[in-house]
């Protein structure tokens, strides 16, 4: 069990949901300057294969539906990193009619990176922090989602049609 936990912390496959401007910070993170692959973090193509959902930037209602769907398709244990101020409180879209303000109302977030934009160093730092949390068994947000499923669904239903967008289980 310990081995599994260790390998979970050392091998994070990431699905970066590039919703906004945050996406530009990821190429330097991946490529030779910062090279996140040395920590075992790789970008993956589909939510089925990923452990980590990285939400880079603001989420409009339209995108949130897709994020929730992607999150629900990921196998557990799964982790979410909110990236940039927009995921914390809406950031520069704080009074926009179409951008959600607090991501954690809709899906559980393990870790936020604040800043607008956070630099690649901050991203790497967040990854390392998440790694520590997983190893210690603190990154349990995915359990929260399963336990408080009704609550999350209620929050989601306030902004979009949950029936249509949830994954049928």
């Amino acid at each position: 069990m310990k081995l599994f936990k260790f390998s979970q912390s050392r091998s994070l496959w990431m699905m970066h949901f590039c919703t906004g401007c945050g996406a530009v910070e990821l190429p330097p993170t991946m490529t030779s300057r910062f090279d996140m692959e040395r920590f075992g973090i790789m970008p993956m193509a589909t939510p089925r294969q990923s452990d980590l959902l990285l939400i880079t930037g603001y989420l409009t209602i339209k995108t949130l539906k897709r994020v929730v769907r992607a999150y629900e398709q990921m196998p557990t244990p799964r982790y979410v990193i909110g990236f940039g101020s927009c995921t914390i409180n809406g950031g520069m879209y704080w009074d926009s009619y179409n951008v959600i303000k607090k991501l954690e109302l809709y899906i559980p977030v393990d870790l936020y990176i604040n800043g607008c934009m956070p630099r690649p160093e901050a991203i790497i730092d967040a990854f390392l922090k998440l790694r520590e949390m997983i190893a210690k068994g603190e990154a349990n947000a995915w359990k929260k989602y399963i336990e408080n499923y009704e609550w999350y669904k209620k929050n989601q239903s306030e902004v979009f049609d949950v029936e249509k967008w949830s994954v049928k289980k």
Binding site: F4, R38, A45, T46, R48, Q49, P75
Partner: protein, 295 residues
Amino acid sequence: MSILYFFLYLLLVTIVGLLYMGVARKVTAHVQNRYGPPIYQPILDVLKLFGKKDAASHGVMHTLGPVIAYTGIGATLLFLPLGNHTPLLHFNGDLFVVLYLLVVGPLGMALGAGESANSNATIGIARALSMMLGYEIIFFMATLPVFYANHTASIYKVILAQGTFPKWAAIMYPISFIAGLFAVQGLLGEKPFELVIAPHEIASGPMVEYGGKFLGFLQIWHAVGIIVETGLFVDIFFGPQNILWFFVGTFFVFLASVLVNAVMPRFRIEQAVRFYWGIPLLFAILGILQVYLWR
């Protein structure tokens, strides 16, 4: 006793294959001026995938797909000599048994991916099968002269018939050897023939609906596949080696393929198939002519 022996055998090959994948990632990273993950990274990946709590299954065939894939490659391994190390069942089969068992894996995965009802997966499968019209035939034609010249269809006998260094088939039949190298690139699915997976285009193709332990299975399938495919090539072209040199041989064949992979873009499917029907086919036919002339 031999069952236990086989377990160890399979475990060894799986781990070595995973380490090869790690090396591939490290080498690619260095080519791209990065540091890269540790070499044992794929092992961690596989452990993580098997430790996942739940994986989505779309039905019986979807579930069995990766299992059949691993079955096929594991069964192939039993018939494949690792160098001059006698395979467990070498007396029971030959090249064609190995070639046909080698297809069981992709077929299983194809059936599994097909049931997921995802068109990305099926496009990937359609590509994989079409690619076989390219590389598989070249690989076959490249190895034929060796078997024909040694008058056997058994891989083990071909190994023994070759003799040591200067009598390697690679040196005796250099044209076929080059054709074979072309084919190995496609056999391993490395760039520029990576279009079956093509993550940016069809979202990792056949694996699109596989997560958790299914993906773990596909990883170890790929790991054993690397050894089996390069091993077949090494067996046929590099003569009798002890098991250590056998792994060195497979490693260098794999390394060559990875280095090409690191700097190549991706072909379109019809380009890839047509590529194989061009220069590699010419080499393969010339190799066959060579064996006719020598005999």
